[in-house]
Symmetry: C3
Subunit: 174 residues, 3 copies
């Protein structure tokens, strides 16, 4: 086992930090949101200026926009962390974010947070965050960055795989 034990304690702290953002956002605890970022952080959810903010206080202020939703639920998973040195790390995590408007209509986005993290005296903090969108349902219309996906080679033909060979679709429901 490596002397640094794969930095498991650091991984655990960073994971709970990323999760704390979600918990705080879903209850709109803006001071708690500010605490997961560095004082001079840079955050961008999309290419437009109105989706970028700087500083922990600035991020928390900008996320007041989440009040336009009546309810939200941010499900974080797929956390990958790599360390650049003792006090700096990069992570990618996935989020499934469900939002409900006051009129009951909903919007769901599935995306990735690409973060740079630094360790300050109080612990790990998010220094930069860039959100990318893997996809969304039709209800979600915010112009987030899109995840870059490798396309097929020229001339690629899709296989027929979505219907069972024996046509027993009626048997699909247990």
């Amino acid at each position: 086992m490596a002397p640094d034990h794969h930095r498991l304690a650091d991984r655990q702290e960073i994971s709970e930090l990323l999760i704390e953002y979600c918990r705080a956002l879903d209850v709109m605890d803006l001071p708690a949101i500010a605490r997961v970022f560095t004082d001079d952080c840079e955050v961008e959810y999309g290419p437009e200026d109105r989706l970028r903010s700087k500083g922990s206080a600035g991020v928390a202020k900008s996320l007041e926009r989440m009040w336009r939703w009546a309810r939200t639920s941010h499900h974080l998973s797929n956390i990958q962390i790599a360390f650049d040195d003792h006090d700096r790390a990069r992570s990618i995590s996935y989020v499934l974010a469900w939002h409900e408007r006051p009129d009951g209509s909903t919007a769901t986005v599935m995306g990735q947070y690409h973060d740079r993290l630094v360790r300050i005296e109080k612990g790990w903090r998010i220094a930069t965050r860039r959100m990318e969108m893997n996809g969304s349902d039709a209800g979600f219309t915010v112009n987030l960055h899109r995840t870059k996906r490798q396309g097929p080679p020229a001339g690629w033909v899709a296989p027929n795989i979505d219907a069972p060979v024996d046509g027993n679709l009626a048997d699909k429901k247990p």
Copy 2:
């Protein structure tokens, strides 16, 4: 690093315990569900008596109600754990719970488990569980506790952020 190494082994055991509940529930392995709770546990999913139960056998018995669904899938994430002392912990975790009725209609709820855990001779167990609901789709009608969310200050006005500045919605699909 702290002498207890941030109690990483305890965190791992508790995480797998919370996950085991989901796995067992989705295959309706009621004895396995009983094993994640203490003998004298207290569980409540909502404010009504019929959504409360006591004791590991009582919880497993009450969850027979899940047979009214033909299929379920409970996706657990966002696990946060804090330790009160050597043998007691509290955790919050998120669940995205999908349910399908025998007629094929579905119901999805997104919620949080707020648990107190204790270490008994056999390992960590859930002593108390309170479920809260961040939100749900229209198909889900069980009266769960609602997550408390901080509302906006008086006079707050929602920003216009859901349509791109340049109106290129047609460009949204890749």
Copy 3:
């Protein structure tokens, strides 16, 4: 604490391996997908031959079929790992997999990966993978293995639990 410290470093490596599969699949990084499997792996997503493949190169090749989707998002959670010996492990993990066709229609499947893992010189790799489906929405029509679920005893009657006692459904939306 156990001498092997519950093999926490191995668990972390295996967890990031399972996550790497999802990340690589969503950006269609086929070489990265091949790297998470052993050279002689066996993978089956369903009972039909066209959903089975062998070898890391074979799996990557077969997953070219994912190009029939315009976008995907694979959210991994519920990772449980058990060790058979120093270099062999079994894991169950959950995936919520969202897919979007070029025409904008979508298909979501909720399932489980049942994996056997081995440690080779380069690290942990997936040796066998069997996917099971807990459920799906109507848009998903691939014939995956179904999760086996224990049914109710003869004569079981479903309780009335889906409507509030006091009938205040109108109060459900906050």
